[in-house]
Symmetry: C2
Subunit: 230 residues, 2 copies
DNA sequence: CGGTGTTTTGACGTCGGTCAATATGTGTGG
DNA sequence: CCACACATATTGACCGACGTCAAAACACCG
């Protein structure tokens, strides 16, 4: 049993604006859950009974396209909250959430979450800013998807993954993704993705070993991402 | 001089949750503005001093891509509010807003808007749901952009435009867009867009005359949009 | 060791982007 | 109302990027 008061989630999410009483209330009513690598947290179209605070682990949020592929929309990891949007909108989820590695999360029932939105203006302001921020990011993605060629998007994705999740001791990206996952981020066929990764490798910008990816020439990679390189 | 109490904007936007006193407060402090067709309402990166309620007209919100094209992210028209996101997030705008036809809008200074978010939980809940909804739409767009071929996206766009803005007396789409604008919605070269529009025409699904577009076979057009046709 | 799944590579065709030429507007001032 | 300039729409030719199919190389695991 752990206490919300000390949880890392407070450091990053809007939950930091809750006062001690509100936190205690939540702490009493949360349940701790674990998910294994690959396990489904919730599916597209489900009605959620609450939100999930990620204490440890990374999940991918995907949406099924009519062509049968699962487009990855974003990742939610340590210290972030899953299911905010659908809970706030009081709608079924728009996205499917899958654990990318073993995860520990806390489940907070809907009413405790919504209660605080109504009662604590600082908290609801924080939620508003959260959504506003996500919306901005989504708009950026739309532009990238529709205007940039795949190679740029791959370069961008690698840099973005470094930014969000960092590196391990050996300098590889901490997050391990299959080629299929990467191609589902950039929205392309797996083979195209593989091919472009290997040209990046030949050009000396990255090196790979299985699912491990290391950035070896960050500066040029950034230029590729911006489309300034050839 | 008009009064917020009777404004059409109240029918559609979150402003409907405001009570008479709050509305009067806003009504006193708003200013009425007009914009001509093609005029800039605000540019990407500007700090807004408030939000704009659209009484009449349609505007396009675009974002400049690194390849120099303005991707159209969405439209904001009668009864909707412009600049919500940046005002709430207290950030410079992410998007550029341009009037597509002559517009009448009311400008509401930031503090009156934010004040009500803090004081009126119903209003802030409404704003949250607004943003949540926009976020869902944006996610849908991401999937479409990354997974569907241009012809499907064009078909979808036409149907979407009919849905959002309706038809005139003759049965043409009420909203008039240049081919360039259409191609900036679907994220493609203008010529490709033109070519695909003319194949849709040859297939008898739409007919065009200048900037006027009429849907002549909605059912098949929907099938094309879903990718079920050939 | 053979299965099962993922990564890599090759060959090929098509979609969509670019450049250029031609039509068709559309608005301006005379 | 015409003539001109200029923007937008349309079409053609060409080519590169990307998707698809299929096979080979490699991993992982029993």
């Amino acid at each position: 049993m752990s206490f919300c008061e000390k949880c890392i989630v407070r450091k990053f999410s809007g939950l930091k604006t809750l006062n001690p009483e509100e936190l205690e209330q939540i702490s009493k009513n949360k349940t701790s859950l674990s998910f294994q690598k690959g396990e489904l947290i919730f599916d597209e179209g489900e009605y959620l009974k609450g939100v999930y605070c990620v204490r440890h682990g990374i999940s991918k949020l995907t949406k099924l396209s009519s062509n049968g592929k699962d487009q990855i929309i974003k990742f939610v990891s340590n210290g972030e909250v899953l299911g905010q949007r659908s809970t706030i909108a009081n709608e079924p989820t728009n996205l499917k959430a899958i654990a990318l590695n073993d995860m520990e999360v806390c489940f907070i029932p809907k009413n405790y979450f919504l209660e605080n939105i109504k009662k604590n203006p600082r908290f609801s302001m924080e939620m508003l800013q959260d959504l506003a921020h996500e919306l901005k990011e989504a708009d950026d993605v739309i532009v990238n998807m529709s205007q940039k060629p795949v190679k740029q998007r791959i370069a961008e994705t690698i840099l973005h993954l470094e930014n969000s999740f960092g590196l391990d001791e050996e300098g590889f990206l901490l997050i391990r993704l299959s080629r299929e996952d990467i191609s589902n981020i950039v929205g392309t066929a797996t083979e195209s993705c593989i091919r472009l990764l290997s040209t990046l490798k030949k050009e000396g910008l990255i090196s790979t070993s299985g699912k491990r990816i290391m950035i070896t020439d960050k500066e040029t990679l950034q230029q590729v991402a911006e489309g300034l390189h050839h």
